[in-house]
Protein backbone atom coordinates (compact mmCIF):
# COMPACT_ATOMS: atom_id res chain seq x y z
CA UNK A 1 0.00 0.00 0.00
CA UNK A 2 2.77 2.37 0.93
CA UNK A 3 4.54 1.55 -2.28
CA UNK A 4 1.42 2.40 -4.28
CA UNK A 5 0.98 5.62 -2.33
CA UNK A 6 4.56 6.61 -2.92
CA UNK A 7 4.21 5.85 -6.60
CA UNK A 8 1.20 8.15 -6.72
CA UNK A 9 3.28 10.92 -5.26
CA UNK A 10 5.97 10.44 -7.85
CA UNK A 11 3.59 10.88 -10.75
CA UNK A 12 1.62 13.78 -9.35
CA UNK A 13 1.84 17.09 -11.14
CA UNK A 14 3.82 19.64 -9.20
CA UNK A 15 5.95 17.03 -7.47
CA UNK A 16 8.86 17.23 -9.87
CA UNK A 17 12.42 16.90 -8.71
CA UNK A 18 13.93 19.84 -6.86
CA UNK A 19 14.98 22.48 -9.38
CA UNK A 20 18.49 23.87 -9.38
CA UNK A 21 18.83 27.00 -7.27
CA UNK A 22 19.67 30.21 -9.09
CA UNK A 23 21.16 32.75 -6.72
CA UNK A 24 22.75 35.06 -9.27
CA UNK A 25 20.93 35.33 -12.54
CA UNK A 26 22.78 35.69 -15.80
CA UNK A 27 21.29 36.12 -19.27
CA UNK A 28 22.01 34.37 -22.53
CA UNK A 29 20.20 34.73 -25.82
CA UNK A 30 20.20 34.14 -29.52
CA UNK A 31 18.30 36.31 -31.94
CA UNK A 32 17.70 37.33 -35.49
CA UNK A 33 17.30 41.03 -36.17
CA UNK A 34 15.24 42.64 -38.96
CA UNK A 35 16.92 46.01 -39.39
CA UNK A 36 16.05 47.82 -42.62
CA UNK A 37 17.26 51.15 -41.25
CA UNK A 38 15.44 53.90 -39.35
CA UNK A 39 12.17 52.81 -37.79
CA UNK A 40 10.34 49.53 -38.17
CA UNK A 41 6.59 49.90 -38.43
CA UNK A 42 5.60 46.27 -37.84
CA UNK A 43 7.12 42.84 -37.32
CA UNK A 44 5.53 39.40 -37.27
CA UNK A 45 6.19 35.66 -37.40
CA UNK A 46 4.47 32.37 -36.72
CA UNK A 47 6.19 30.83 -33.69
CA UNK A 48 6.37 27.13 -32.85
CA UNK A 49 6.31 26.55 -29.10
CA UNK A 50 8.14 23.75 -27.29
CA UNK A 51 7.62 22.49 -23.75
CA UNK A 52 10.74 20.89 -22.42
CA UNK A 53 13.71 21.31 -20.15
CA UNK A 54 14.13 22.77 -16.70
CA UNK A 55 14.75 26.21 -15.21
CA UNK A 56 16.34 27.06 -11.89
CA UNK A 57 14.35 28.00 -8.81
CA UNK A 58 12.92 30.37 -7.76
CA UNK A 59 13.23 32.77 -10.69
CA UNK A 60 14.79 31.00 -13.66
CA UNK A 61 13.15 31.57 -17.02
CA UNK A 62 13.47 30.54 -20.63
CA UNK A 63 11.50 32.44 -23.24
CA UNK A 64 10.98 32.84 -26.97
CA UNK A 65 9.48 35.94 -28.50
CA UNK A 66 9.21 38.48 -31.27
CA UNK A 67 9.60 42.19 -30.66
CA UNK A 68 10.22 45.63 -31.96
CA UNK A 69 12.97 47.23 -29.94
CA UNK A 70 15.06 50.38 -29.93
CA UNK A 71 18.32 49.84 -31.74
CA UNK A 72 20.20 52.76 -30.21
CA UNK A 73 19.55 52.22 -26.50
CA UNK A 74 22.56 51.46 -24.33
CA UNK A 75 21.00 48.14 -23.38
CA UNK A 76 18.09 47.75 -25.76
CA UNK A 77 16.13 50.78 -24.59
CA UNK A 78 12.45 50.47 -25.35
CA UNK A 79 11.00 47.13 -26.35
CA UNK A 80 7.58 45.66 -27.09
CA UNK A 81 7.49 41.87 -27.11
CA UNK A 82 5.14 38.88 -27.34
CA UNK A 83 5.93 35.18 -26.96
CA UNK A 84 6.07 32.16 -24.68
CA UNK A 85 7.89 31.72 -21.40
CA UNK A 86 8.88 28.78 -19.19
CA UNK A 87 9.06 30.28 -15.70
CA UNK A 88 9.94 28.53 -12.47
CA UNK A 89 6.82 27.95 -10.38
CA UNK A 90 4.48 29.12 -13.15
CA UNK A 91 5.12 26.59 -15.88
CA UNK A 92 4.66 27.29 -19.59
CA UNK A 93 2.75 30.46 -20.37
CA UNK A 94 2.13 33.01 -23.09
CA UNK A 95 3.58 36.39 -22.20
CA UNK A 96 4.00 39.95 -23.29
CA UNK A 97 6.11 42.79 -21.93
CA UNK A 98 7.04 46.30 -22.90
CA UNK A 99 9.42 48.97 -21.73
CA UNK A 100 9.82 52.52 -22.93
CA UNK A 101 12.87 53.85 -21.14
CA UNK A 102 16.19 52.05 -21.00
CA UNK A 103 15.00 49.09 -19.00
CA UNK A 104 14.07 50.82 -15.76
CA UNK A 105 11.36 48.85 -13.97
CA UNK A 106 9.24 51.93 -13.37
CA UNK A 107 8.78 52.21 -17.12
CA UNK A 108 8.29 48.49 -17.69
CA UNK A 109 5.01 46.65 -17.88
CA UNK A 110 6.69 43.74 -16.12
CA UNK A 111 6.30 40.26 -17.52
CA UNK A 112 2.61 39.62 -18.13
CA UNK A 113 1.85 35.90 -18.20
CA UNK A 114 -1.33 34.39 -19.61
CA UNK A 115 -2.75 30.96 -20.42
CA UNK A 116 -0.29 29.10 -18.20
CA UNK A 117 -0.70 25.39 -18.90
CA UNK A 118 -3.08 25.93 -21.82
CA UNK A 119 -0.82 25.35 -24.82
CA UNK A 120 0.45 22.00 -26.04
CA UNK A 121 3.97 21.20 -27.12
CA UNK A 122 4.23 22.05 -30.81
CA UNK A 123 1.54 24.73 -30.73
CA UNK A 124 1.93 27.42 -33.38
CA UNK A 125 0.70 30.97 -32.92
CA UNK A 126 0.97 33.97 -35.20
CA UNK A 127 2.47 36.83 -33.22
CA UNK A 128 2.78 40.48 -34.22
CA UNK A 129 3.99 43.83 -32.91
CA UNK A 130 2.91 46.86 -34.93
CA UNK A 131 2.69 50.61 -34.66
CA UNK A 132 -0.82 51.75 -33.72
CA UNK A 133 -2.40 55.16 -33.32
CA UNK A 134 -4.03 55.65 -29.93
CA UNK A 135 -6.76 58.20 -30.49
CA UNK A 136 -7.34 58.98 -26.84
CA UNK A 137 -3.73 59.98 -26.24
CA UNK A 138 -2.84 61.16 -29.75
CA UNK A 139 0.28 59.02 -29.84
CA UNK A 140 1.64 56.07 -31.77
CA UNK A 141 2.56 53.00 -29.79
CA UNK A 142 4.16 49.65 -30.55
CA UNK A 143 1.06 47.54 -29.94
CA UNK A 144 1.18 43.84 -29.07
CA UNK A 145 -1.06 41.42 -30.99
CA UNK A 146 -1.82 37.71 -30.85
CA UNK A 147 -3.26 36.56 -34.16
CA UNK A 148 -4.10 33.03 -33.01
CA UNK A 149 -3.56 29.90 -35.06
CA UNK A 150 -5.25 30.60 -38.40
CA UNK A 151 -3.28 33.29 -40.15
CA UNK A 152 -3.06 37.04 -39.87
CA UNK A 153 -6.59 38.12 -40.73
CA UNK A 154 -7.91 38.24 -37.15
CA UNK A 155 -5.67 39.54 -34.41
CA UNK A 156 -6.36 40.33 -30.76
CA UNK A 157 -4.83 43.51 -29.41
CA UNK A 158 -3.30 42.35 -26.13
CA UNK A 159 -1.90 45.70 -25.07
CA UNK A 160 -1.37 49.08 -26.67
CA UNK A 161 2.28 48.88 -25.68
CA UNK A 162 4.74 51.73 -25.20
CA UNK A 163 4.88 55.17 -26.80
CA UNK A 164 6.91 54.63 -29.97
CA UNK A 165 8.38 58.13 -29.89
CA UNK A 166 10.69 57.07 -27.06
CA UNK A 167 12.35 54.39 -29.15
CA UNK A 168 14.33 56.41 -31.65
CA UNK A 169 15.49 54.01 -34.34
CA UNK A 170 14.09 50.52 -34.01
CA UNK A 171 14.36 47.03 -35.42
CA UNK A 172 12.41 43.79 -35.36
CA UNK A 173 13.74 40.83 -33.41
CA UNK A 174 13.02 37.12 -33.03
CA UNK A 175 14.75 35.87 -29.91
CA UNK A 176 15.32 32.97 -27.53
CA UNK A 177 16.37 34.10 -24.07
CA UNK A 178 17.38 32.32 -20.87
CA UNK A 179 17.89 33.66 -17.35
CA UNK A 180 19.92 31.02 -15.56
CA UNK A 181 21.60 30.69 -12.22
CA UNK A 182 25.04 32.18 -11.80
CA UNK A 183 28.10 30.71 -13.43
CA UNK A 184 26.72 27.52 -14.88
CA UNK A 185 24.25 27.41 -17.74
CA UNK A 186 21.89 25.17 -15.82
CA UNK A 187 18.67 26.31 -17.44
CA UNK A 188 17.45 24.73 -20.64
CA UNK A 189 16.50 26.76 -23.67
CA UNK A 190 13.13 25.76 -25.10
CA UNK A 191 13.31 23.16 -27.85
CA UNK A 192 15.29 19.97 -28.40
CA UNK A 193 17.15 18.70 -31.43
CA UNK A 194 14.16 16.83 -32.81
CA UNK A 195 11.57 19.36 -31.65
CA UNK A 196 12.99 22.79 -32.29
CA UNK A 197 11.55 26.18 -31.58
CA UNK A 198 10.88 27.87 -34.90
CA UNK A 199 10.02 31.34 -36.10
CA UNK A 200 8.77 31.57 -39.67
CA UNK A 201 9.12 28.83 -42.23
CA UNK A 202 6.36 28.39 -44.81
CA UNK A 203 4.96 31.69 -43.59
CA UNK A 204 8.14 33.70 -43.12
CA UNK A 205 9.43 36.23 -40.64
CA UNK A 206 8.31 39.58 -42.04
CA UNK A 207 8.30 43.26 -41.28
CA UNK A 208 6.99 46.57 -42.55
CA UNK A 209 9.50 49.37 -42.71
CA UNK A 210 7.31 52.40 -43.36
CA UNK A 211 3.86 53.31 -42.07
CA UNK A 212 1.43 52.16 -44.76
CA UNK A 213 4.02 49.85 -46.33
CA UNK A 214 3.70 46.16 -47.19
CA UNK A 215 4.92 43.02 -45.42
CA UNK A 216 8.36 42.17 -46.62
CA UNK A 217 11.08 39.54 -46.09
CA UNK A 218 14.47 41.19 -45.67
CA UNK A 219 17.95 40.05 -44.67
CA UNK A 220 18.11 39.07 -41.00
CA UNK A 221 21.19 39.46 -38.83
CA UNK A 222 21.95 36.47 -36.61
CA UNK A 223 23.39 37.11 -33.16
CA UNK A 224 24.56 34.41 -30.75
CA UNK A 225 25.54 35.42 -27.24
CA UNK A 226 27.35 32.05 -27.04
CA UNK A 227 27.78 32.00 -23.27
CA UNK A 228 25.97 28.69 -23.04
CA UNK A 229 27.46 26.37 -25.59
CA UNK A 230 24.51 23.97 -25.56
CA UNK A 231 22.18 26.55 -27.12
CA UNK A 232 22.16 25.83 -30.83
CA UNK A 233 20.69 27.51 -33.89
CA UNK A 234 20.96 25.25 -36.94
CA UNK A 235 18.75 27.47 -39.10
CA UNK A 236 18.95 31.23 -39.36
CA UNK A 237 17.93 32.26 -42.83
CA UNK A 238 16.07 35.41 -43.90
CA UNK A 239 12.71 33.73 -43.47
CA UNK A 240 13.21 31.09 -40.76
CA UNK A 241 14.99 30.92 -37.42
CA UNK A 242 15.33 27.72 -35.38
CA UNK A 243 16.86 27.17 -31.94
CA UNK A 244 17.11 24.32 -29.47
CA UNK A 245 19.01 23.15 -26.40
CA UNK A 246 21.38 20.28 -27.19
CA UNK A 247 21.18 19.04 -23.59
CA UNK A 248 17.50 18.15 -23.82
Amino acid sequence: VLVVGAASLIFLPGFSAQATACPNLAIDFQDEVWAPGANVNAFRAPLVFRKNGSVCSPEGTSSIWIAIQASAGTQNGGISQRGWIHASGLGYCRFWEWNDNLGNPDSDSGVQVQHCGDDADGAVRDLKVAKAYIQAEHIYTYAIYDCGTSGWSTCTLEDAGPDSSNFGNSWGAAAAEVHYGGVLCTDDMLGSQNQQVKWGGADPIQGIKELGGVWDVRPLTYQDRSICGQFVSPTHTDSQFNVYDSNT
Binding site: V1, V4, G5, A6, A7, S8, L9, L12, P13, G14, F15, S16, L25, I27, P58, E59, T61, S63, A67, Q75, N76, I79, Q81, G83, A87, G89, L90, G91, C93, F95, E97, N99, L102, G103, N104, P105, D106, S107, D108, S109, G110, V111, Q112, V113, Q114, H115, C116, G117, D118, I134, Q135, A136, T141, A143, L157, E158, D159, A160, G161, E177
Partner: protein, 152 residues
Protein backbone atom coordinates in the same frame (compact mmCIF):
# COMPACT_ATOMS: atom_id res chain seq x y z
CA UNK B 1 -12.14 -12.71 -3.22
CA UNK B 2 -9.60 -11.72 -0.58
CA UNK B 3 -7.17 -10.83 -3.31
CA UNK B 4 -9.79 -8.62 -4.90
CA UNK B 5 -10.37 -6.79 -1.64
CA UNK B 6 -6.65 -6.22 -1.19
CA UNK B 7 -6.38 -4.80 -4.70
CA UNK B 8 -9.34 -2.52 -4.05
CA UNK B 9 -7.82 -1.39 -0.76
CA UNK B 10 -4.53 -0.67 -2.49
CA UNK B 11 -6.29 1.43 -5.13
CA UNK B 12 -8.33 3.36 -2.55
CA UNK B 13 -5.33 4.10 -0.35
CA UNK B 14 -3.21 5.05 -3.33
CA UNK B 15 -5.90 7.40 -4.59
CA UNK B 16 -6.22 8.89 -1.12
CA UNK B 17 -2.49 9.55 -1.03
CA UNK B 18 -2.78 11.15 -4.43
CA UNK B 19 -5.66 13.41 -3.43
CA UNK B 20 -3.99 14.44 -0.19
CA UNK B 21 -0.79 15.24 -1.99
CA UNK B 22 -2.64 17.03 -4.80
CA UNK B 23 -4.25 19.38 -2.36
CA UNK B 24 -1.04 19.40 -0.37
CA UNK B 25 -0.63 22.88 -1.70
CA UNK B 26 -1.83 24.66 1.40
CA UNK B 27 -4.57 27.24 1.62
CA UNK B 28 -3.06 30.71 1.31
CA UNK B 29 -3.75 33.23 4.04
CA UNK B 30 -6.58 35.64 3.31
CA UNK B 31 -5.31 39.18 2.93
CA UNK B 32 -8.54 41.12 2.44
CA UNK B 33 -8.54 44.17 0.20
CA UNK B 34 -9.40 47.54 1.70
CA UNK B 35 -8.39 49.82 -1.15
CA UNK B 36 -7.68 49.79 -4.87
CA UNK B 37 -4.23 48.41 -5.61
CA UNK B 38 -2.49 49.80 -8.70
CA UNK B 39 -0.56 46.95 -10.27
CA UNK B 40 1.47 48.32 -13.15
CA UNK B 41 3.41 51.54 -13.56
CA UNK B 42 1.37 52.64 -16.56
CA UNK B 43 -1.88 52.52 -14.57
CA UNK B 44 -3.58 50.00 -16.87
CA UNK B 45 -4.15 47.25 -14.27
CA UNK B 46 -5.83 47.52 -10.88
CA UNK B 47 -7.27 45.20 -8.24
CA UNK B 48 -10.14 46.67 -6.24
CA UNK B 49 -12.13 45.42 -3.25
CA UNK B 50 -15.08 43.22 -4.18
CA UNK B 51 -18.55 44.52 -3.29
CA UNK B 52 -19.83 43.16 0.04
CA UNK B 53 -22.55 41.16 -1.70
CA UNK B 54 -20.18 39.47 -4.14
CA UNK B 55 -20.86 35.73 -4.27
CA UNK B 56 -18.17 33.87 -6.19
CA UNK B 57 -19.13 30.43 -7.46
CA UNK B 58 -15.89 28.97 -6.15
CA UNK B 59 -14.02 29.29 -2.90
CA UNK B 60 -10.41 30.38 -3.15
CA UNK B 61 -9.22 26.81 -2.55
CA UNK B 62 -11.54 25.47 -5.25
CA UNK B 63 -10.42 28.07 -7.76
CA UNK B 64 -6.75 27.42 -7.03
CA UNK B 65 -7.26 23.66 -7.30
CA UNK B 66 -8.97 24.13 -10.67
CA UNK B 67 -6.09 26.24 -11.92
CA UNK B 68 -3.57 23.70 -10.62
CA UNK B 69 -5.24 21.01 -12.70
CA UNK B 70 -4.82 23.17 -15.82
CA UNK B 71 -1.26 24.13 -14.96
CA UNK B 72 0.43 21.24 -13.12
CA UNK B 73 3.72 23.16 -13.11
CA UNK B 74 2.28 25.89 -10.92
CA UNK B 75 3.69 25.87 -7.39
CA UNK B 76 1.80 27.87 -4.78
CA UNK B 77 4.40 29.54 -2.58
CA UNK B 78 4.01 29.22 1.17
CA UNK B 79 4.04 32.99 1.62
CA UNK B 80 1.17 33.56 -0.81
CA UNK B 81 -1.87 35.50 0.33
CA UNK B 82 -5.24 35.58 -1.39
CA UNK B 83 -7.85 38.31 -1.75
CA UNK B 84 -11.22 38.40 -3.46
CA UNK B 85 -11.52 41.49 -5.61
CA UNK B 86 -12.30 43.03 -8.97
CA UNK B 87 -9.51 42.83 -11.52
CA UNK B 88 -9.38 45.40 -14.29
CA UNK B 89 -6.85 45.35 -17.10
CA UNK B 90 -7.01 48.11 -19.69
CA UNK B 91 -5.51 47.50 -23.10
CA UNK B 92 -4.51 51.15 -23.40
CA UNK B 93 -6.72 52.06 -26.36
CA UNK B 94 -9.96 52.48 -24.41
CA UNK B 95 -10.85 48.77 -24.36
CA UNK B 96 -10.28 46.18 -21.65
CA UNK B 97 -8.92 42.67 -21.42
CA UNK B 98 -10.78 42.38 -18.13
CA UNK B 99 -13.22 44.92 -16.73
CA UNK B 100 -13.99 44.49 -13.03
CA UNK B 101 -13.70 40.71 -13.26
CA UNK B 102 -14.43 38.97 -9.97
CA UNK B 103 -11.15 37.27 -9.19
CA UNK B 104 -8.97 35.81 -6.53
CA UNK B 105 -5.68 37.65 -6.45
CA UNK B 106 -2.76 35.57 -5.24
CA UNK B 107 0.11 37.76 -4.11
CA UNK B 108 3.60 36.51 -3.30
CA UNK B 109 7.28 37.23 -3.72
CA UNK B 110 8.59 36.19 -7.12
CA UNK B 111 11.35 38.13 -8.86
CA UNK B 112 10.47 37.26 -12.45
CA UNK B 113 13.32 38.65 -14.59
CA UNK B 114 12.45 41.23 -17.22
CA UNK B 115 12.64 39.40 -20.56
CA UNK B 116 15.12 41.76 -22.16
CA UNK B 117 18.50 43.22 -21.39
CA UNK B 118 18.60 45.92 -18.75
CA UNK B 119 21.38 47.96 -17.18
CA UNK B 120 23.10 46.16 -14.31
CA UNK B 121 21.60 48.59 -11.80
CA UNK B 122 18.07 47.44 -12.61
CA UNK B 123 16.65 44.64 -10.51
CA UNK B 124 13.58 42.66 -11.39
CA UNK B 125 10.38 43.56 -9.54
CA UNK B 126 9.51 40.93 -6.92
CA UNK B 127 5.85 41.55 -6.03
CA UNK B 128 3.93 39.04 -8.13
CA UNK B 129 0.15 38.85 -8.59
CA UNK B 130 -1.71 35.94 -10.12
CA UNK B 131 -5.40 36.52 -10.87
CA UNK B 132 -7.80 33.57 -11.09
CA UNK B 133 -11.45 33.83 -12.14
CA UNK B 134 -13.49 33.40 -8.95
CA UNK B 135 -16.34 31.72 -10.82
CA UNK B 136 -14.50 29.30 -13.11
CA UNK B 137 -11.02 28.84 -11.69
CA UNK B 138 -9.49 29.88 -15.02
CA UNK B 139 -6.34 31.97 -14.99
CA UNK B 140 -6.92 35.59 -16.00
CA UNK B 141 -3.30 36.69 -15.99
CA UNK B 142 -0.24 37.07 -13.81
CA UNK B 143 2.13 39.98 -13.49
CA UNK B 144 4.71 41.80 -11.46
CA UNK B 145 3.54 44.90 -9.63
CA UNK B 146 5.66 47.66 -11.10
CA UNK B 147 3.60 50.58 -9.82
CA UNK B 148 5.60 52.71 -7.43
CA UNK B 149 8.95 51.09 -8.23
CA UNK B 150 11.67 53.70 -8.51
CA UNK B 151 14.20 53.72 -11.28
CA UNK B 152 17.32 51.71 -10.74
Amino acid sequence: MKRGMVVALVIVVGATFALLARSGSHSPAEAGLTKVIPIDAAGRETFAPAPPDAKPVMSADEAIATFERTDPDFILPKDATVSLGLYTAAVGDGTFRFDHALAYGLNYELCLPLQHEVPDSVEAPCDFWLFIDANTGEMLEGEEATAGISAG
